[in-house]
C-alpha cells in the first residue's frame, strides 16, 4: 500500500505546484477573445472557393478581407480545384468562384443544365494564354517572337524528351490547350511535351532565364511569376472569332479571356451583401499582380497582403460596396 501513497503524494505535489505556478489570462476572458467589431447579423457565412493559383488567392484575399471588415461577414475560404468548386454550387457548399477562365463545359453543365450556378460579371482581368520565351532569349534573338521564325530555331529547343524535334513545354493540365493541333497545323518542327503542373512550368522558365537555356512553353497572364521573370509572348496567327471551333484544325492564337465570376444561384437570390460585393468586384491585371506579388514574393499572409492593398485603394473598394 505504501507505494500507492507515495505515488498519490507525488501526484498531489505536482498538482499543487502547477496550480500555484500558474495564473494568467483565462480562456474566454473578454479581454482576450473577441476580435471582430460588429456581429455578423445580416451577412452570415460567405463560402468562398479558393482555386489553387496565386492570382486567385489574391482575389480571394481582398474580397474576403473586405467582406469581413466592411460587411461583417464570416468568410469560410475553401481550398478547391475548379471542378470541385463548381460541383459545390449544387450542393450549397460554395457561394462564389472569383476568377473563372472560360470553362464553357462547366458553364453549360452547371448554369444551363443544372441551373445551380449563375454568372456574376467580369472581374476586369484579361486572361491571356500563349507561347512564351524567357526574356534573355527574346533579347538575343528578337525575331523569335514571330511564330514563322520558330522552325529556324527548332533544333536549339531539343531536349531529352522531344525526340529530335524542338520542345514546346506545355501543360498545366487545368487549362485546355490546342498546342498539339497548333504545332501540326502551323507545320512547326516541334513536339509538345507535357510538364504536368504550373510548378513545373514556372521552374522551367526560372532555370532557363538563369542559365540562359532555350525554352519555349505555354504560359498565361495575369501571373505573379511574370513580375519575377517577365516572359515574352510569341505572336501566333491572329485570333478571329470561330477560328478555334474545330479542335483538330486550330491554327490561330488563343482568344483573350475576360475572366469572370460565378456564384451559386441560391447565393445570388439570398440578398446577402456579400453577393453585391462579389458582383461589383472589379480590378485590373495590375492590381491583381500587386497583391499576388505581396503574397508570392514578399511572403505576406493573405490577410496582410489584402490589408495593404485595400488601405492604398480605398476609392476602388468603396465603389464595390455601393
Amino acid at each position: 500500500m505504501a507505494r500507492h501513497w507515495r505515488a498519490g503524494a507525488a501526484g498531489l505535489a505536482v498538482l499543487g505546484l502547477t496550480l500555484t505556478a500558474c495564473g494568467g489570462a483565462k480562456v474566454g476572458d473578454s479581454s482576450s477573445g473577441s476580435k471582430s467589431t460588429g456581429s455578423s447579423g445580416k451577412c452570415g457565412t460567405f463560402n468562398l472557393a479558393v482555386n489553387p493559383w496565386v492570382g486567385y488567392e489574391a482575389d480571394a484575399a481582398v474580397v474576403a478581407y473586405v467582406a469581413e471588415h466592411r460587411l461583417g461577414c464570416k468568410v469560410d475560404k475553401k481550398n478547391l480545384k475548379e471542378e470541385i468548386a463548381w460541383q459545390g454550387f449544387g450542393t450549397g457548399e460554395v457561394d462564389a468562384v472569383l476568377e473563372n477562365w472560360g470553362h464553357d463545359d462547366l458553364k453549360k453543365k452547371y448554369i444551363t443544365q443544372q441551373k445551380t450556378a449563375a454568372e456574376a460579371g467580369e472581374t476586369g482581368n484579361k486572361g491571356i494564354i500563349g507561347w512564351y520565351v524567357p526574356p534573355w532569349l527574346a533579347k538575343a534573338h528578337p525575331d523569335i517572337l514571330q511564330w514563322k521564325n520558330l522552325n529556324k530555331y527548332a533544333s536549339k529547343f531539343k531536349t531529352s524528351e522531344s525526340g529530335g524535334k524542338g520542345q514546346l513545354l506545355d501543360g498545366d493540365p487545368s487549362y485546355v490547350t490546342n498546342d498539339a493541333a497548333l504545332v501540326k497545323n502551323l507545320k512547326l518542327d516541334f513536339k509538345v511535351v507535357y510538364a504536368g503542373s504550373e510548378t513545373a512550368l514556372i521552374q522551367a522558365f526560372r532555370t532557363a532565364e538563369k542559365n540562359k537555356q532555350w525554352v519555349i512553353g505555354y504560359f498565361y497572364e495575369p501571373q505573379w511569376f511574370l513580375s519575377e521573370v517577365p516572359l515574352k509572348k510569341v505572336t501566333l496567327p491572329e485570333y478571329t472569332s470561330g477560328c478555334d471551333a474545330v479542335a483538330e484544325k486550330v491554327a490561330c492564337d488563343y482568344p483573350v479571356y475576360d475572366l469572370d465570376k460565378i456564384v451559386s444561384s441560391k447565393f445570388a437570390e439570398s440578398g446577402s451583401p456579400a453577393y453585391k460585393l462579389v458582383k461589383n468586384f472589379n480590378w485590373t491585371n495590375e492590381d491583381q499582380n500587386t497583391v499576388a506579388k505581396y503574397i508570392a514574393q514578399d511572403k505576406l499572409s493573405d490577410e496582410a497582403a489584402a490589408k495593404k492593398w485595400v488601405d492604398a485603394n480605398k476609392v476602388k473598394v468603396d465603389a464595390w460596396l455601393n
Binding site: 501526484g11 505536482v14 500558474c22 494568467g24 480562456v27 474566454g28 470541385i84 450542393t91 485546355v176 510548378t199
Partner: protein
Amino acid sequence: MTVAIEKPGEAEAAVPAAPAKGARKVGRPMMIGAILVVWLVLFALLRGKQTLSLAAADLTDLHRWINDFNDSIGADRNSNPLFLYFFNEIRLVIDNLVTFIQHLISQPPGARPVPQVGWLGVVAIAGYVSWAVGNWRVALLAVTGFTFFGLQGLWQESMDTLALTLSAVFVALLFAIPLGVWAGLSDRFNRIMTPFLDFMQTMPTFVYLAPLTLFFLIGGASATIATVIYAAPPTIRITAHAIRNVSKTTVEAADSLGATRRQSLLKVLLPMSRRTVVMGVNQTIMAALAMVTIAALINAPGLGANVIQALQSLDVGTAFNAGLAIVVMAIVLDRVTTAAGTREEYARRSENNLAKWRRPLLGAGAVVTAVLVYLSHTYLWAADFPGDGTIGGHIASAADTATNWAQDNLSGLTNTIRDIITDGLLNPFQTLLTDSPWWLVGAVLVALGVVFGGWKAGVTTAVCVGLLVGTGVWSDGMTTLASTLVATVLVMVLGIVFGVWMGRSMLVDRLIRPTLDAAQVMPPFVYLVPFLALFGATRFTAIVAAIVYAAPVTMKIIADGIRAVPETTVEAAASAGCTTWQIITKVQLPMSRGALTLATNQGLIYVLSMVVVGGLVGAGALGYDVVAGFSQGELYGKGLAAGCAIVLLGVMFDRITQAAARRASA
C-alpha cells in the same frame, strides 16, 4: 501505396511452391533470352504498326461514356434516394466524428476562441499514452515531437492533420480489423477481397476525389473517406495474414479443449496475432499520413494545405517546414505503435524492477495528465502555443539555402546523368514498348509472366493485357511501363547496395533508417521543386521522384533479408577464406533470394504509386492523363481509364513477382 511490408521470412513461409516441373530442362535465362530475341526481330519487322496510340486530347467511346455517366450522377444528386438516405447518413456520422475531434484539439468550438484541449494538454496526453502503451523512450519522443510542431509555428495545422488522421484511422480500423479477421478465417472471402484491396491501393486518389465530394460533399467526411480507402487495406491484409499464421496446433489444442469458435477467436487467434495486427495498424497510420497533401485539394485543413499553398509560389522553404512536421508526426506515431506492438515481450523481460512500480506510476501519470489538460482548457498560456514559430522560419530559410546551393552547383552534373540514362536506357526501351504492335508486347508480357511466375501468373497477365487494351490508353500505358521498369531497376540497384550495407552493420542501419522514413512520408512535391530545377520537366525527374519514394522500402526489406541469413553460414564461409565480396555475392545475396524478390515486388508497386506524381513533373502518359482528368471535365473518363490502367499494371506485376517469390524460396 503501402502494401503489406511483410518480413521476407513470412513470405517464404506463406505458400509452398508448386513442385518444379520436369519440363523445365531448358534454363530460365535461356527462355527469357529467346523471348527477347523474338521480340526484337518482330519489332524490327513490324515497327510502328498497330501501336494503338491516342493523342493527349483524344478520347475513345468508353471515355465519353464514363463522362456521361458521371454527369448523370451529379445531375440528380438532390432527388436520388440513394443520396438522401444512404450517402448523406454516412456523411453525417463521419462529419460529426471529425468535428468532435477537431473541436477537442484543433478548431475552436462555438463560442470558445480556442479548442477544448490546448497544446499543453495535447502534449501531456501524447506523452502519457505513449508511455502507457509503449515505453518511456517513445513517450519522450512523442513529447519532443509534439512540442516541435509548436516551435515550428505549425501547432494548429499539425493538430488539424492529427485530428483528420485519427478519425480516418479510427474509421478504417472499425472496418478493417473485422474484415481482416474474416479474410484470415475464410480463404474464399480472402480471394474475393484481394482484388478490391489491390484496387483501393493502386487506383490513384485523383481519380475518385471529385466523385467523392459529389457523394459526401466538401469537408471532413470526404477527406476522411478518401483517406480510409487508401489506408484501410494494409490493416486488412496484415490482420488476415496474422490470423492465418497462428500455428494450427495451438488452434487445434483449443478446439480439443472444447473451445467454441467464438472462444478460440477471442482467446487464441486474436491475442496470438496481436503483434502483427499492430504492425498493420502502424501501416494504416503511415498510409493515412501519406494522404495529407491530397486531402488538402478538397479543403481538408492542416499541414497539407500549407504545403500546397507554399508550392503555388514555389516557396520550397515553407513547404519543407510543413513537410517536416508531417515527417515528425509519422515518425512519432510509427515508433509509438511499434513500441506498443512489442511492449509485452519487453515488459516481461524487465519484469522485476519496473513492473511493480508500473501501476502506481500509471495512476500518478493519469492524474498529472488530467491536471495539465485542465490547465490547457482553462488558461490561455497553456492553450495557445507561446512564441511565433521562429524555429520554423529558420528551418524554411535553411531549406531554401540548401535548395539554391544544389541548383547552382549541381545542375551540370545532374543534366549529364539525366541524358545518359534517358538516351542509353529509357528511350530505346520506351521505343521498343510503344512502337511494337500491341499484340506483340502483350504476347511478350504473357510469355515472361509464364516463365517467371508459372501458368497461373501467365493467365493473370493475359487478362490484364486484354483489359489494358480495353481502357484505350495502351500506348500511354507502355510509355509509363518503360519509365516504371527503368525506375525499378535503379531502385533495386540502390536497394541492394544500401540493403546489404545496412544488413551487415547495425550501426549503418540505425544511422540511415530515419532518413528512409523521412523519404517515405515527406510529401513528394516538397522535393519535386528542387528536382525540377536540377533535371527539368522530364521523365527522368519522375523517375528520380519514384526512386526517392520506393528505394527505402527495398532497402529495408533487403537489409532484413541479409540479416536473416544464419550467422553460422557466414562464419563458415569466412573461415573457409572467402573475401567480403565473395561472402556477399556467393552467400548472403543468394541466401536472401526470397527477400530480393519481395523487394522487387514492393519496389515496383511503390514506383507505380508515384506515376501520378510523375505526371505532374513531366512524365506525361498515364500520370498526366489522370491529372488532366482531375482538372478538366471532358477528360474525366480518360483519367479514370488511365487510373484503371495503372491498377492493371500493378496487379500484373504483383502477381508475377509474387509467384516468382514463391518459386524462389521453394
